[in-house]
């Protein structure tokens, strides 16, 4: 069948001759053959807008057939270039690698990173909490890197390359901001018992977060693409239980080191996770509406009981 590919402004780009039973992936390969700049990961196709819709349905499943989307001879497809893409794992690695390296720099090399501040003779003097905090921070990001390659199952393979710089700027920037103050020669150590206790509980929160990640990774069997209702662990009560543990971890870290930048980092992360959690919660509630044999999404906290 012949399909016309148009741009979002209506301009005709190409005509593709494809088999109705071929998959979206095969369509993308064919289009790549015609337009060498747009490798398959950059391509996004959508059906024309139907009356009552604000936007056309996206051909989001690469394994589905074109006929499944109702495409027939003479049909139109709207093409969007997603821009240069980069793999999810690649972005995750680099955004987590930065904090792993940047934070300890202020701990181990204060003589270079605190110009103008008098340092004690005989090397840097760190309180116990500063040492434990450094260990906690590095463990956290090492854990994230390991999870990226061994636990997480990503819903999409790629993201726009601009995200690499945006995400790295965020993580690396905050790592430097927090580390600069926590490892400062003029750091005022808080009550040691409280600090150590908080970091210990924070460590438990990290384990809870890892447990949540393992549950999420096990939700779909290999090859499945549909959304599932998360079950098990804290997920029975909270939609985004993984975020709950993460927020608690950073909150406890902040209380432990008693530094405003740490609180700012925790707050920023919590704000972003809350946005994501609300979207996910609403998506699942809309999908699992209890009609036509679908299960009904149970009443749950969104991200942080007892508040949200």
């Amino acid at each position: 069948m012949k399909l016309e590919v148009v741009s979002r402004s209506g301009r005709s780009i190409a005509t593709l001759d494809v088999n109705p039973d071929s998959t979206v992936a095969e369509l993308k390969k064919k289009f790549y053959g015609l337009k060498k700049t747009y490798y398959p990961a950059r391509q996004r196709f959508a059906l024309p807008v139907k009356p009552g819709e604000t936007r056309g349905q996206v051909l989001s499943d690469d394994s589905k057939r074109l006929s499944d989307y109702g495409l027939a001879d003479g049909g139109k497809l709207e093409f969007k270039d997603l821009g240069p893409q980069i793999g999810y794992s690649t972005v995750f690695f680099w955004e987590y690698f930065g904090p792993l390296v940047v934070y300890p720099l202020f701990f181990f090399l204060p003589q270079y990173l605190y110009p103008g501040t008098k340092l004690p003779a005989g090397g840097p003097q760190h309180a116990l909490v500063q040492k434990l905090a450094c260990g906690y921070w590095c463990f956290h990001y090492a854990k994230r890197i390991v999870e990226t390659f061994t636990v997480h199952k990503f819903g999409h393979a790629t993201m726009p390359i601009f995200n690499l710089f945006k995400n790295c700027g965020y993580y690396w920037g905050y790592a430097a901001y927090v580390s600069y103050f926590v490892n400062h020669p003029l750091y005022t150590a808080p009550n040691q018992t409280v600090s150590v206790a908080c970091l210990a509980v924070a460590g438990l929160m990290q384990l809870g977060n890892l447990w949540s990640h393992l549950i999420l990774a096990g939700l779909r069997k290999p090859g499945e693409k549909d959304y599932k209702i998360p079950k098990g662990g804290l997920f029975n009560f909270v939609t985004c239980a993984n975020y709950t543990f993460e927020i608690w971890g950073w909150l406890l870290f902040s209380v432990s080191v008693q530094s405003i930048p740490a609180y700012l980092f925790a707050a920023t992360g919590a704000a972003q996770m809350t946005q994501w959690a609300i979207a996910k919660h609403n998506r699942l509630r809309k999908l699992f509406d209890g009609k036509e044999g679908r299960p009904k999404y149970p009443r749950r906290w969104i991200i942080f009981p007892p508040f949200l």
Binding site: S9, G10, V49, T54, F181, Y187, T188, S259
Partner: protein
């Protein structure tokens, strides 16, 4: 009439009166050939009250009373608040600057059009010339106000540094240091960017509202005409490009 409509109409009318009074005070002062310092002393107290109260714009957006973006309105309020309360107020030398008068004047001139427009639109009785003013006068006034704010911040830097205003030095219990004068330097660098974000969104809104956008705006246009968007830009509206795309798609569908 709904309670919310009445409330918004009253709020916007009150703001309009406040800013009109500020403009009148400045006009009287200018007519009497007063010095910048005298003009500032005349207009600043009321401006502080009225501009401070404008935080309600953000509250209205946050609870969904108006379709504006709470983030944009807050950014706008914080920017003005910083220029007025944090920078100009504490530094006496700035009161004698024409930039301070320019800032108050530009703000008042713009708001004395914007708030009546909101009030009239809330009541569904907005004359075309008022819409034209609202979407045109910002073109010179917004850059003037922004320039005045930047000039004042720039002039304030030496005194901000010497007096260490709003700054925190180590060591302290918060394990944080904050140098407000360095912060203002960074703000000065970011100002043109932030200004352009708001300005360009206003230009897009202008193209939609005044440039024959009445036909294409269908349901979005209907709601925006009767809404009373408060705050910085009409940040919640889709950009003109999206409207165009939508229209093209509809045309394509018809042609199929």
């Amino acid at each position: 009439m709904k309670v919310t409509t009445a409330y918004l109409a009253l709020y916007n009318a009150a703001q309009a009166c406040g800013w009109a009074a500020i403009l009148a005070l400045l006009a009287i002062g200018v007519a009497q050939r007063e010095t910048p310092e005298q003009l500032y002393d005349r207009a600043a107290p009321l401006t502080k009250l009225v501009q401070g109260a404008a935080l309600l714009d953000t509250l209205h957006a946050a609870v969904g009373l108006v379709p504006s973006s709470p983030a944009m309105t807050l950014m706008f309020w914080v920017g003005r608040g910083n220029a007025l309360f944090a920078v100009t107020e504490p530094i006496a030398a700035l009161h004698a600057s024409w930039w301070a008068v320019a800032m108050l004047g530009a703000w008042a001139a713009a708001e004395v059009i914007r708030y009546p427009w909101y009030a009239a639109t809330t009541l569904g009785a907005c004359p075309g010339w008022l819409t034209w003013l609202r979407y045109t006068m910002f073109i010179p006034l917004f850059p003037l106000g922004t320039l005045a704010e930047m000039a004042l911040m720039w002039a304030a830097l030496p005194e901000l540094q010497s007096r260490r205003l709003y700054s925190l030095a180590l060591p302290n219990a918060y394990n944080w240091a904050f140098d407000y004068h360095v912060f203002i330097r960074i703000v000065l660098l970011l100002y043109p960017l932030l200004w352009w974000q708001l300005y360009s969104s206003l230009l897009r809104a202008r193209a939609k509202k005044l440039g024959g956008g009445g036909s294409g705006s269908s349901k979005k246009g209907g709601s925006s005409a009767s809404s009373s968007g408060n705050g910085g830009g009409d940040g919640a509206r889709p950009p003109a490009a999206d409207i165009l795309r939508q229209e093209t798609r509809t045309k394509l569908l018809k042609a199929q």
